[in-house]
């Protein structure tokens, strides 16, 4: 599912980033790679705050909607 639908305080794993072909290399290079585990600290139903590898990022709605995650069992 898309990251904008994610609940707070649950761990997710990034499956893929839609749009591909390097258009998001910046975000990938900041650690948002498939397989990385993240927690949604705050979901404002617009911009979103995630915690990944111990650092926090603010993501815009547009980007958050392109990130496909699944819950870590």
């Amino acid at each position: 599912m898309s990251l904008i639908l994610a609940d707070e305080n649950i761990e997710y794993e990034i499956v893929r980033i839609n749009g591909g072909h390097g258009s998001f290399s910046k975000f990938l290079e900041m650690g948002l790679v498939p397989g990385a585990k993240l927690t949604v600290v705050y979901n404002a139903k617009g911009p979103i705050i995630i915690s990944i590898n111990g650092s926090k990022y603010a993501l815009g709605k547009g980007l958050a909607s392109k990130i496909i995650v699944r819950e870590v069992a």
Binding site: G22, L28, S55, A58, K61
Partner: protein, 663 residues
Amino acid sequence: MKSFTIALIGNPNVGKSAIFNELTGANAHVGNWPGVTVEKKEGKFTYLDTEINVVDLPGIYSLSADSIDERIARDYIVKQKPDLVVCIVDSTNLVRNLYLFVLLKELGAKTLLVLNMIDLIENKLEIDDVKLSQSLKTRVIKTSATKKIGIGNLKEAIFDELHHANEELFIDYGSDIERSIEKIKNLLANLDLPYNKRFAAIKLLEQDPVIIEELKKLQKDSIIENALLEINSLEKIYTDLQTEIIEKRYALIEGIVKNTTKHLVSIEDRLTLSDKIDKVVTNRYLGIPIFAIAMLIVFEATFKLGGFFADYIEQFFGWFGGTIAQYIHNPILQSFVNDGLIGGVGTVIVFLPNILILFLFLSFLEDVGYMARAAFVMDKLMHSIGLPGRAFIPLILGFGCNVPAIMATRTIADEKDRLLTILINPFISCTARLPIYVLLTGIFFKDKHPALIIFSLYALGIIVAILSAKLFRSTIPKLKGKVSFLIMELPIYRLPTLKAVLLHSWERTREFLKKAGTIILFGVILVWLLSSLPFGVKYASEQSYVGVLGKFFAPILSPTGFGFWQAAVALIFGLLAKETVVGTMGTLFGGEDKLSSALPQLMSPLSAYAFMVMSLLYIPCLATIGVIYRETNSLKWTAFSVFYSLIVGWLSAFLIYQIGSIF
């Protein structure tokens, strides 16, 4: 003496500036803004018989060439070839920080790895630095710049590493990609490229624009085509090659970090306080009000506290002028000192406490880490006006001074977003305009909520900036298009040391003092000269040159409510620097103390307000115009900015005065 050059590099907010200060003893600022170190900063220290020059590179996340900062850093390493690249990482966040390190290795740089903020992981995370050093093929040093731990070791290690050979770190991208890398590498073999060949080959697979450009210059388009063929065939295996390459690097790093660290407590415990604060300050409903209240408090304090000290400075200049007059008997010299220097520069210096206090608060909010949250809170609003949330950072910096604010737009990767942010920045009210507001509200709105009046001007600046952004986005073809995505790191909250905040605000206040001593001084001397000439006229009378000049422009200002010639003169000289508006008034009326009796005869509170609006919005100061030109590299956009703001300033003052007059 032997001499070497080393470069400091690292992600934003890893304490790179603090390390730089500890190494070189120079006074530099420790900030929380992504990309605060835009300017190249240099210093040096001596170790034994060796002089070591230290270059501070911009804070960046990677070495791809898509932001100016990254390009600056990469070019520096590749072309200037420093003898050692010291990569500083945040120990609390090894994985992401090491990504940059791995790229440096790939680039072929000789490295030293510094695990900074080591104090923050005490009892929480154990790092086996020996194992880490072996896995990453580099020497590793643990430091805490703020607690002054490990600085001696770092200096020693830097010295040692200068005399050691570089060890390569090999990242295995898997047999398919490796085969392509090998092929491209062979094609590059005889070329005169400044890059490590393997790095260049990998970057070609990542379609790096700079390297492609350089190959085109060498007329090696065939290599680019070959790389594209390789990409095409690889993308039959991997759906997205770039993602695959980045993932491979992260996989290597994650493996190494897992093998060399041990968590003593869970990650959750580490973040709780920051998270709790964030829950409140970034709350959907509370976020914006909290930000507004914070700003209101800042302005209240700036006005009240600053005013307290300003009174004393004013008294001092009054006394000083009186005393001086007793010793100088030459009337021209006396007029120069009293009307020109004390009346002009003195009037500006009176506002030093206001400016210092405003900077103190802004530095504190910045260093604590709140500003990034403010940018997050404003993202939705920013999007609705056609700007990315990231553009909010330069806008807030504009409250300090538009010049560094416009330079800070370099962190915005998208060219359109960047240009737009530059163009609206001058409307954000900088501290140079504060003396004008403080002076006029002090005279005209003393008992009518002066802080609120000043706040309203700041708000108006923001509103004009927003409306302009919307207008530009929808009408100017070059600026049309989608807003780029927001991604911004929110640094962990930390209480800055008193020293850091004081240093930070002092550095900026010093700029103000420097301006007072140079461009403002020049401005008031010019005003004084023009007020005294031609010989024989009464000082600053309508017959003097300045009176003639002012009277020529005054009719244009009549519809805005301040059509007296002194106002026109003040505005003209305000172009040098906005503080000069106050300085000029002081010179023309003979000192700050005389303004409070002279101005009410020429202005009503309404026209004083219109005058403040004009001062806020009309043409940016020379320094700002200069930086707009430098950053846009376009005379057309610079001229556009000047004329647009002049029209907007006049129109706003006109509307406020005319509509206000009805009531």
